[in-house]
């Protein structure tokens, strides 16, 4: 399949004012991101993730190597029409309101005034900022700014969505919403490049990942393949069928050796938190912060195969 992103020997060396080499941020990176996949770029702080993304977006000029995004040069204006980008920090014009911000970014694309207004309202609903639509974004908290940053990245219904630390500064509900959105967009065949150092986020949604360290590619492959422990097996039984834990453990150890562990499965904290909030909302508790988010907007849900159906239980996220 034709790659959405292809880099060969991509290198970026930052220079000082006198053009002397200062930092080698990315070194000889070969990367292939297939169209329609959710690709995770992992690495600790300073590993070159954000620099790689900026090179892919044409914001930085490579010191060596080549970059192709959607089969074109990254700084080609035609390429940018198909890209949505959520930066690591929410870079917003602080004197514009949330609505003005979305309208401004919409104007930069070939979107008619009516459609722009519709999308603006839908996105404000989606990110839960409809009530704060006329407030200057300079007054927003970090989480709210992040939400408006996400909304601007989706205004053009992009074919390639680049998310740099998308869940940074968001509450667990916002994190879950981002993951739902990624899944929804992936179902529509969109390519998503997700850059994060939060491993749980990446593990939940990515098809393939690459791990960078010190500007170099250290590992790359399918998440399931990379995380599978071939040497161990897990069995899940209903409590009634298993009987008392101690007895079952004793039986299993006698048969398979001392490494056997028996216990109750634990749900993820995120699922537990979401469950608590959901119950509070059902009790109509007043909410002084971000309003209730609407679902993914209609124009981001439409697929050739039919409408998008949100995922079920919180434990799957």
């Amino acid at each position: 399949m034709e790659p959405a992103v292809k880099t060969r020997g991509l290198t970026k060396v930052f220079a000082d004012f006198w053009c002397r080499p200062r930092v080698r941020a990315v070194s000889g990176l070969d990367l292939d991101i297939v169209r329609g996949e959710v690709f995770g770029l992992l690495g600790p702080n300073g590993s070159g993730k954000s620099t790689t993304i900026k090179l892919l977006l044409g914001l930085l000029h490579p010191s060596a190597g080549s970059v192709e995004v959607l089969s074109r040069r990254p700084d080609d204006v035609a390429t940018k029409k198909l890209i949505g980008y959520l930066p690591e920090e929410s870079y917003l014009y602080r004197y514009l309101t949330a609505r003005e911000t979305l309208d401004f970014y919409g104007r930069l694309f070939d979107i008619g005034a009516r459609q722009r207004a519709e999308r603006t309202e839908q996105l404000l609903e989606m990110v839960g900022l409809a009530q704060a639509a006329d407030r200057p974004v300079g007054e927003f908290s970090k989480g709210m700014a992040r939400r408006i940053g996400l909304a601007q990245a989706l205004i053009n219904d992009p074919a390639l969505l680049v998310l740099d630390e998308p869940t940074s500064g968001l509450d667990p509900i916002g994190c879950r919403q981002i993951k739902d959105l990624i899944v929804a967009l992936a179902k529509r065949g969109k390519t998503i490049l997700l850059c994060s150092h939060l491993l749980a986020d990446v593990e939940d949604v990515c098809d393939r990942i690459a791990i960078l360290y010190n500007g170099r590619l250290r590992a790359q492959g399918r998440v399931k393949d990379l995380l599978r422990e071939s040497a161990r097996v897990r069995i899940t039984l209903p409590s009634e069928a298993a009987g008392p834990e101690e007895k079952l453990e004793e039986e299993m150890r006698r048969r398979f050796g001392p490494e056997v562990e028996v216990g109750h499965p634990v749900i993820e904290l995120e699922s537990f938190f979401l469950d608590v909030v959901q119950k509070a909302r059902e009790g109509h508790e007043p909410d002084s912060g971000v309003g209730h988010e609407a679902g993914v907007p209609e124009y981001l849900r439409e697929t050739a195969a039919g409408p998008y159906v949100p995922r079920g239980g919180g434990g799957e996220c």
Binding site: L59, P87, Y91
Partner: protein, 328 residues
């Protein structure tokens, strides 16, 4: 069509962001209030009031215009390049050339908006200034206090209304304050244009010193050149060094005729510097208005050509830097 829409959106954003900066309203208000106060503080100069007020007001227009434009140009691009908003915009289908030129257009439109205010204030201020009138009934030294009162009231009303708009409907105080200030100055200009300096109704009299208009226009051209220089510098330097470099360019450009012009015939280096550095004296024609002098149309055209060519050259240089620079 899309490119035009993108360009106008970016230019409007650059202008809007500058207009909403508190310092813009502060500088504009100070400039207008100072101009309005000139006839008061320069009272009784034996017929020289008009000249002193005119030259003082034009000087304020130039100095405050440089501050407004320099701040808008240097902070706008430098801050956006280092703060990340430029990166966010450049990931949209916007070329660097368009981004850069739209920024310039936005900053120049701010300079024009400021200049309109300053020119109106200069015209009104000159009208207020004391002058000798040879009239058998109302003759002697006359000051148009009605116009002065209306100008000062306009400043206060614009601030109060902007405050109310902000409190009641959350209108941005800075930009609505500036818009109201401009509106009040225009209203005063139109209303007082229907009266003579004694306060008698004389419809369509327009008793203003219209020679001020071309002088203000020249200063606006200087601001456009200055904006191009500040913008070009901000592609390479952060905001503070850009402002410092702009100050240097301003000072050297002001003394260009004296330092390099006089030595141009003897020294190739002086001649080159005289041609390459911006010559702000080309845009300062307040002296020409003394003793009833006027600025001829051909001079305006020549100055506009000089400003256009110089700005284009500086913008091209800045664009070259901006294309090669890393953003974000």
């Amino acid at each position: 069509m899309l490119r035009f829409r993108q360009f106008t959106a970016l230019a409007a954003l650059a202008a809007g962001e500058s207009l909403r900066q508190p310092i813009f309203l502060l500088l504009s208000l100070t400039c207008v209030a100072w101009m309005a106060a000139l006839p008061v503080v320069l009272m009784h100069k034996f017929g020289e009031d008009g000249k002193l007020v005119r030259e003082g007001a034009l000087a304020l227009h130039f100095v405050f215009g440089i501050l407004v434009t320099g701040h808008a140009a240097s902070w706008s691009l430098a801050r956006e390049m280092r703060g990340g908003t430029a990166a966010a915009v450049l990931t949209k289908p916007v070329g660097r050339d368009m981004f850069y030129l739209a920024k310039y257009a936005g900053i120049v439109s701010v300079a024009v908006a400021f200049s309109v205010c300053a020119a109106l204030a200069t015209l009104l201020s000159e009208r207020v200034s004391e002058r000798f009138v040879a009239d058998p009934v109302l003759g002697g030294y006359v000051t148009d206090w009605n116009t002065a009162r209306m100008v000062f009231s306009g400043i206060i009303v614009s601030l109060v209304v902007a405050g109310v708009l902000n409190y009641r409907w959350r209108f941005p105080f800075q930009s609505s304050g500036f818009g109201l200030l401009a509106g009040m100055l225009l209203l005063t200009f139109i209303v007082r244009g229907q009266f003579d300096i004694h306060g008698r109704l004389s419809p369509m009299l327009w008793a203003y010193d219209w020679r001020i208009v071309p002088a203000s226009l020249l200063i606006t051209l200087a601001l456009a050149v200055f904006a191009a220089i500040a913008l070009a510098l901000s592609t390479r330097f952060p905001a503070a060094p850009t402002v410092a470099a702009c100050c240097g360019v301003l000072l050297v450009g002001l003394v260009s005729d004296y330092v390099f012009g006089t030595a141009a015939s003897r020294s190739f280096a002086a001649a080159t510097l005289h041609r390459v550095l911006p010559n702000w004296q080309n845009f300062w024609m307040a002296d020409a208005l003394a003793d009833g002098g006027v600025i001829p149309g051909w001079y305006l055209l020549e100055a506009a050509t000089y400003a256009g060519v110089y700005s284009a050259a500086v913008l091209a240089l800045g664009l070259t830097f901006f294309r090669r620079s890393d953003v974000g």
